[in-house]
């Protein structure tokens, strides 16, 4: 396996698409109901937790880009191979592939949960899982360009929903934000920790980085995308805090959707039904970007063709969704996943960066030409 990959030119996409990719993969199943979980920890200062978590995410992305910059055009699989060698690298890569597959499962299962609660309590899990799986296969078969395209459309077609927040703001009680800094620092940090499930997703940069056309602009556009998500999270959190009372918010599982519920127009009410229907477009990037990255991993690590591993992975995801039957099981699984995800997404990049620095320094000292790893190998692989 080559450490650096040189995709064919027509597969590359412009760097500014990263705004859409990062935004669309972060906005997903977390957003409809993250308020309750944060407020449980940090009360009416939850919005501070959102800001703190956002800043942490920016730091993590800075470290990720710094790591990637040490290589020319490598992805996470290649970096692992370089640092840990063939065997250990493959094992760690497998862990990350498993994480990607699980995150796709979580996204689909969470969406099915929302549909079952809000639209069709009777609709069986398997029928919706089949629809989702077919869409995912159809999109990923189109390759990286279609996957990125879905992210762009997902943002363009659903961004208008932000304006729906105008209606709950009419009933806002701004005083409920006061007093500021009422909560202890520890609780705010705990709240920020709980944000990790909502914020996760930007780790996709590790996998799509080789496909960015203008690599020097990666940093700018990734941070812009991240900033957009953080602003959106902050706006929704503030609006929820001023619209609901704290006690009410603690009992509302999907606060964002509950806010859409009150909208009344002369020809249409209850916008949450439209929102949930369109939410499939919002969650699709969350599902297919990791799915695509997982198939890439299967190819890079084990040499399976992406076409075949895609179908296998989707079948595994389908079975995994069927195994989660009750609401409790789903909740336990999500908690377990977001706890583990925190370490992989927020902590691991720092460890990896230090390792890369140390290994490259050691090689330099040992007299090995460092440009052997740094300089791109001329051999190209798709």
């Amino acid at each position: 396996m080559d450490i650096n990959i040189r995709p064919k030119p027509y597969l590359l996409f412009n760097a500014f698409h990263l705004i859409f990719i990062i935004f669309s993969i972060q906005v997903g199943v977390g957003l409809p109901g993250f308020q309750r979980i944060i407020v449980m920890e940090s009360g009416h200062d939850a919005w501070i937790s959102v800001i703190v978590a956002g800043i942490a995410a920016h730091l993590v992305v800075m470290v990720m880009i710094a790591t990637l910059n040490r290589y020319g055009s490598a992805d996470l699989y290649g970096i692992h191979q370089d640092i840990f060698g063939k065997w250990l690298g493959s094992i760690i890569n497998t862990v990350f592939i498993a994480y990607l597959v699980l995150s796709t499962t979580v996204v689909f299962r969470a969406y099915i949960e929302i549909v079952q609660v809000w639209l069709f309590p009777e609709l069986p899990v398997w029928s919706m899982a089949i629809f989702g799986g077919l869409l995912a296969i159809y999109a990923v078969l189109g390759g990286i360009r279609v996957v990125v395209g879905v992210s762009v459309l997902s943002v363009l077609f659903t961004l208008w929903m932000i304006f729906l927040l105008y209606f709950p703001i009419q009933y806002a009680e701004w005083k409920s934000l006061l007093p500021i800094f009422d909560t202890s620092t520890l609780d705010i940090l705990k709240g920020a920790y709980k944000m990790s499930f909502t914020l996760a997703g930007f780790e996709i940069l590790y996998y799509i980085y080789p496909y960015v056309k203008e690599k020097e602009k990666t940093s700018l556009f990734t941070h812009l995308g991240l900033l957009a998500t953080n602003l959106l999270n902050l706006i929704i959190m503030v609006v929820s805090l001023v619209y609901f009372s704290e006690g009410q918010l603690l009992k509302t599982i999907w606060a964002t959707l509950s806010m859409f519920k009150i909208i009344q127009l002369p020809f249409m009410e209850r916008f949450e039904i439209i929102a949930i229907s369109l939410w499939m477009l919002v969650i699709l990037p969350n599902a297919i970007l990791p799915l695509w990255a997982a198939t890439r991993g299967m190819k890079r690590v084990f040499g399976f063709k992406q076409k075949y591993s895609l179908h296998g992975i989707v079948i595994i995801i389908f079975i995994a969704q069927m195994l989660l039957k009750t609401r409790d099981q789903v909740n336990m699984f999500f908690d377990w996943f977001s706890n583990k995800g925190f370490y992989l997404v927020f902590i691991y990049p720092f460890i990896l960066y230090v390792l890369v620095l140390v290994v490259q320094k050691m090689r330099q000292k040992r007299g090995l030409a460092s440009n052997e790893t740094k300089a791109p190998s001329n051999k190209s692989s798709n």
Partner: protein
């Protein structure tokens, strides 16, 4: 995708056949020449030949497709006036009074030319023959565009004759850089196809792709542009057209000048152009003839109409079947009243009415215009009124279905209008079975599908992906011309400036 490529073995055999047929003309007598030609034309009756100058010269042509006057006055009489002793190909070529004349020794070319209205003048025991263009053009008068009508702009449409269409394009673009390449398509029909592009503007990759696809085509017969376009499209497993058909020479001229590639095929009153985006099927030349404010407005109306046309009926079905809470209570009471008499579930009601509209449309398209007027009465009054009174459908659904039918007719391109009408049916069914989830699924599926399509290898859903906000000024809206200084990025033109934007937008101070 390219299903003709799978039958490669057949195609190879054909190419070998072609090589065997390649006989050079080699010092035959005129009688031998006639025998050879007769054999190749299967002793067909309409192959005429005439000996001149004491069997030294023979003239061969097909009577029905040639002009008798031209042959008599411009070919036979000058030859008869020649001196029999000093005959040579050079003398013949000088004496014949026809512009289209060429000398060839390729027998295959001779046969091909005779079938397209040329005559062979062969001088005994020479290595080459002379081909004279004496074809008779059978064509109708030029008419107004029927399917792409405009209020403003030139009111002329392509006709069926290739030469006329070539002339129409030349009249639009008096430019020496306009390149016309002649190609041949169809093993049986042998149809002439002309490829158009402007050198220095069009991207060579596009030109090569288009030429390659037409040349590689191994299909027995191609009679129309609508026929050819299905054979050279990127993906045939979709209902969306990926190359544009137009009957307006001004539209083709405009698109050529913006860097597209055009194809005109003999016998068709439509021209093909590409590469094309999904959104360009909702544009017309009229958008550029009216003022930009109006142009922008009608474009937006068209997009809105299309979205309504696709999603209005499914929304009704999903609201009435599952999610009636999205309808405000005042409206819900009215809806309930009109629906109270209807015994069917909403999905059947909607499908029944949509199907009726399709019936009306299809019957209207097939009937002669004089009878066609009755269709309006039958459709509008009899079916509409009676269906409601009989309790088959609700009044509100009739309004919704009528609006979405109207919406689908606003698509300026007939193919795209059809596609929009067809995709409505699966969405209605999904809405009836899975409510909002089904409609959400169909929106996502359509998005992914459109992203996967390409036109001549270029992204079809441009400028939404790859996202180019600068291109919105001539896709969703139409900005005034001073703002449209660059040719569309999509065509990837060699020369992208339409005019000097700097000079055009020079700002003057007050009172200067």
């Amino acid at each position: 995708m390219f299903f003709w490529k799978r039958k490669k073995s057949q195609g190879d055999n054909l190419k070998e056949d072609k090589k065997k047929n390649e006989l050079p003309i080699h010092r035959q007598t005129t009688v031998e020449m006639i025998e050879m030609l007769k054999k190749h034309f299967q002793h067909s009756n309409d192959l005429m030949y005439r000996h001149l100058k004491d069997h030294q010269i023979v003239l061969v042509y097909i009577q029905e497709i040639t002009d008798a006057d031209k042959i008599n006055q411009n070919v036979i009489s000058p030859i008869q006036n020649l001196d029999s002793k000093h005959l040579s190909n050079e003398v013949l070529m000088e004496s014949i009074n026809v512009g289209g004349i060429k000398s060839t020794n390729d027998f295959e070319e001779v046969i091909q030319s005779i079938t397209t209205g040329w005559a062979l003048v062969y001088l005994s025991k020479k290595n080459s023959g002379i081909l004279v263009e004496v074809g008779k053009l059978r064509e109708r008068a030029l008419s107004r565009p029927e399917n792409e009508t405009n209020v403003y702009g030139p009111q002329i449409a392509f006709s069926e004759a290739l030469s006329t269409n070539k002339a129409l394009i030349r009249e639009n673009l008096h430019n020496p850089k306009l390149c016309i390449e002649d190609l041949l398509v169809g093993k049986v029909s042998r149809t002439k196809v002309a490829l158009f592009y402007i050198e220095g503007i069009s991207n060579e990759e596009n030109v090569n792709t288009m030429r390659q696809r037409i040349q590689d085509l191994e299909f027995d017969s191609v009679f129309d542009a609508a026929n050819l376009v299905q054979l050279i499209e990127d993906n045939s497993m979709t209902i969306f057209p990926q190359l544009m058909l137009t009957e307006r020479p001004d539209r083709l001229g405009h698109e050529l000048s913006q860097g597209k590639v055009g194809v005109v095929i003999d016998g068709s009153s439509y021209a093909i152009m590409g590469p094309t985006t999904f959104l360009s099927f909702f544009q017309t030349t009229e958008d550029y003839y009216v003022r930009w404010t109006m142009g922008t407005f009608i474009r937006l109306v068209r997009f809105l109409a299309t979205i309504m046309s696709i999603f209005f009926t499914p929304l009704y079905v999903l609201a009435v079947t599952f999610h009636y809470e999205i309808i405000p209570s005042d409206l819900l009471v009215q809806l309930g009243q009109t629906r109270s008499k209807v015994p069917f579930p909403p999905i059947l009601e909607a499908l029944f009415l949509e199907f009726t509209i399709e019936l009306l449309r299809e019957a209207g398209a097939r009937l002669p215009t004089k009878v066609g007027q009755t269709m309006g009465i039958v459709g509008g009054i009899v079916i509409g009124q009676a269906a409601v009174q009989a309790g088959f459908t609700s009044n509100i659904l009739i309004i919704i279905v009528a609006i979405s039918a109207l919406g689908s007719f606003t698509a300026p391109n007939y193919m795209m209008g059809n596609a929009i009408r067809i995709i409505r049916f699966p969405i209605i069914i999904l809405a009836g079975l899975y409510g909002g989830f089904g409609v959400g699924f169909s929106i996502v599926f359509l998005s992914v599908h459109l992203l996967r399509l390409s036109s001549l290898g270029r992204p079809y859903f441009y400028p939404l992906f790859p996202f180019r906000i600068k291109e919105f000024k001539d896709t969703f809206i139409r900005m005034p011309f001073p703002k449209l200084a660059k040719r569309p990025d999509y065509n990837d033109t060699k020369d992208e400036g339409r005019f000097n934007q700097h000079r055009a937008n020079k700002k003057k101070d007050i009172d200067e």
